[in-house]
């Protein structure tokens, strides 16, 4: 194709969008900010770690382009690449706050978290999301999905946060790739060899029909430039992540006993009339509906016996402690869930949108109050849901909605505390927990914090499980245990000597006290996620590469800014 955008590599794409002579790369290949985590695993790094940052102009408007190189490690996000994205967005946010308009433009070509740096990928993606949510108050954040890799995994959640999403007809957008769904849920759920099914479900044309992307354009650089320019100057619609009543109505109403082809779903969603949905608050039930840790700890901390609610998989309650009202939220298994793929407590469509609803409810209730109610996310999520209907309806947007709600609450001054009592995995963790400004974890060997199950991670990275376990010894971000996780610096506190399954009264008191301390520690401090970069562990090596990226980018930014 003559003027193809898709066929260009990541750097060429950034250059192609910018007015001639305005391309100025930051942290380019000569700065040699390679990933320090790949070589120890026998993987050849790239000198820009697969992210191209460029300041420049599009039709004389100042822009920052963030372009992902999909050919390098599938565009996966690791520590350095993630820090390049979040740090540059942070600087753009600062410029816009100061009154200098710079439009952020993100070119997605990524499979999501780079599994070889797993937990760094998850942390980075939550930090990127935090910046996008903050930036949307100043400028539209434009995402482009040209295609080849598309936008998947955690980065499909990031895409869902963008003000406007533009895709070519060669692009796909989905939370879980078809191969991973087949691996986790079986070929009956999703046949990853059926290309027609894949494109009809997660291809850009289908995504346009149901509003998950805003424009599908032909693969032509001039057309893409023109489309970007027009969305920079027109007033943006409300964020896609705010369509809570629409999706909750849909999820309540949809009859899952029917077969849902993409065509049928499109027609159905177009006719749907959203109805305002009541906020489901937990109440006392007759018997325990689950014995998961998330369920038990919700009960311990709120004092509600056998908690249940009209959406049984999301428990939420306002509890007063020490004269302070707190909203507790937990995602729990519902064995009778309408969506079979979330019956073990996974975070699915209903969970993402319901958490968004209960968090936004707090924001609204406290809108005119000086003191904002703390929100405590009790975290015990085995994963996101892997399923065909989940992808068709857009689970990436559901998880973006809850991540967005938590980030918005935090920005408005609500202390958001994440309490890890069980597993904290992947998209589930991104949606429920990783937007907390303080994370607390129980020190328990059964807790797993990761981006993907061992079996799937081994398959995707073409290793045996033994080889994968060997690699975790060299790179703590790949490990599955909470002790290794704490060395990354993301935790406010790792609490030892607590019985996670049958805590004593003192155990519960200690956790309550730790939560109060965490809440108090946020008072009068920043509302972003930078706390994680300043902990003892982060400074002692947990986030060395992140900190280096941030410092060097700041230095180069001053210079780049001058010539803009």
């Amino acid at each position: 194709m003559l003027n193809s955008f898709v066929e260009l590599n990541g750097r060429e794409r950034a250059k192609a969008l910018l007015d001639k002579g305005t391309f100025r790369e930051l942290l380019g290949p000569l700065d040699r900010l390679e990933s320090p985590h790949l070589e120890p695993q026998g993987i050849v790094p790239q000198s820009d770690d697969g992210i191209i940052l460029a300041l420049g102009q599009i039709n004389t408007k100042n822009v920052l382009i963030i372009s992902m190189e999909g050919a390098f490690q599938g565009g996966g996000i690791g520590e350095v690449s993630g820090a390049k994205i979040s740090a540059s967005l942070e600087l753009v946010l600062e410029e816009n706050k100061q009154g200098k308009t710079i439009y952020p433009i993100i070119i997605f070509d990524t499979g999501g978290v780079r599994l070889q740096e797993a937990n760094y990928g998850l942390l980075s993606i939550s930090e990127i999301g935090n910046q996008i949510v903050a930036l949307r108050n100043y400028v539209p954040v434009v995402g482009i999905i040209p295609g080849r890799v598309g936008a998947f995994g955690g980065m499909s959640i990031t895409a869902g946060l963008c003000t406007t999403l533009i895709a070519t007809n060669k692009a796909r957008l989905g939370l879980n790739g078809p191969e991973v769904i087949e691996q986790e849920a079986g070929v009956i759920e999703f046949d990853s060899s059926d290309q027609a099914l894949i494109w009809n479900t997660i291809g850009s044309n289908q995504r346009l029909k149901t509003g998950l992307v805003d424009a599908v354009v032909e693969d032509d650089t001039e057309v893409i430039i023109h489309t970007i320019d027009s969305v920079l100057t027109t007033k943006a619609n409300p964020a896609k992540t705010e369509q809570i009543d629409f999706y909750l109505t849909l999820l309540k109403d949809i009859d899952l006993s029917l077969e849902w082809t993409p065509e049928k779903y499109t027609a159905y969603s177009k006719l749907l009339q959203p109805v305002q949905q009541a906020v489901p608050m937990a109440r006392e039930g007759h018997s325990a509906s689950s014995n998961s840790r998330g369920y038990k700890w919700f009960s311990f901390l709120t004092g509600i016996v056998y908690p249940t609610s009209s959406v049984p998989s999301v428990l939420a309650a306002d509890i007063e402690k020490n004269g302070q009202l707190c909203r507790y939220i937990s995602i729990v298994p519902n064995p009778n869930h309408k969506f079979p793929r979330v019956r073990n407590g996974e975070v699915g469509l209903l969970e993402g949108w319901t958490v968004a609803q209960v968090v936004r409810d707090v924001i609204q209730q406290d809108e005119n109050k000086e003191i904002k109610r703390p929100i405590v996310a009790i975290i015990d999520v085995p994963s996101q849901a892997y399923g065909y209907k989940e992808e068709l309806i857009g689970i990436n947007l559901a998880l973006a909605a809850s991540a967005d709600a938590y980030a918005t609450a935090r920005h408005k001054g609500h202390p958001v505390i994440g309490l890890i009592v069980g597993n904290a995995i992947s998209g589930g963790f991104l949606a429920h927990g990783l937007q907390s400004n303080r994370l607390i974890a129980l020190d328990d060997e059964k807790i797993t914090i990761q981006a993907m199950s061992k079996a799937s991670a081994a398959r995707v990275t073409k290793r045996t499980i033994a080889e994968l376990e060997e690699a975790t010894k060299k790179v703590p971000a790949m490990a599955y245990d909470v002790q290794s996780y704490s060395t990354l610096g993301a935790l406010y506190k790792l609490v030892s000597n607590i019985n996670p399954d049958q805590p004593t009264e003192q155990n519960i008191e200690e956790i309550e006290q730790t939560v109060v301390e965490a809440i108090n520690s946020t008072k009068g401090t920043v509302t972003d996620l930078s706390y994680r970069l300043k902990t003892k562990e982060a400074l002692a090596g947990g986030r060395t590469a992140t900190i280096k990226v941030r410092e060097l980018l700041k230095e180069q930014w001053k210079f780049g800014h001058m010539i803009l």
Binding site: P29, E39, G42, V44, P45, E69, A71, F72
Partner: protein, 99 residues
């Protein structure tokens, strides 16, 4: 993964740094940086082990033809000798345009 190092005596110093390519399947990235003296050092990190001799012949042929003096870093992800030669020549083109 294998690390390889080669050194050539050369005579044409480059004035600017250049970068070309992507560490994608069957491809590689090359970074050329100016250096003092008349030695060109090539440091290679390759995902494909056991091709030292082939690298040597490709590079020797290249430097016989273009004796540029530079510090060269290569990150290789299974590029064939033909692709390596092509990228090296492209890097020269980038340098010409830059100068």
């Amino acid at each position: 993964m294998e690390k390889l190092q080669f050194e050539y005596t050369t005579s044409q110093p480059i004035e600017k740094a250049a970068h070309i390519g992507v560490v994608g399947s069957g491809d590689l990235e090359i970074i050329l940086e100016p250096t003092q003296g008349n030695k060109t050092e090539v440091n290679i990190l390759t995902g494909s082990d056991g091709f030292g001799e082939i690298w040597k012949s490709v590079l020797t042929r290249f430097f016989n033809r273009y004796p540029i003096t530079a510090k060269i870093t290569i990150h290789d992800f299974g590029a064939t000798p033909g692709v390596v030669s092509l990228r090296l020549t492209q890097a020269l083109e980038v340098l010409d345009h830059a100068e």
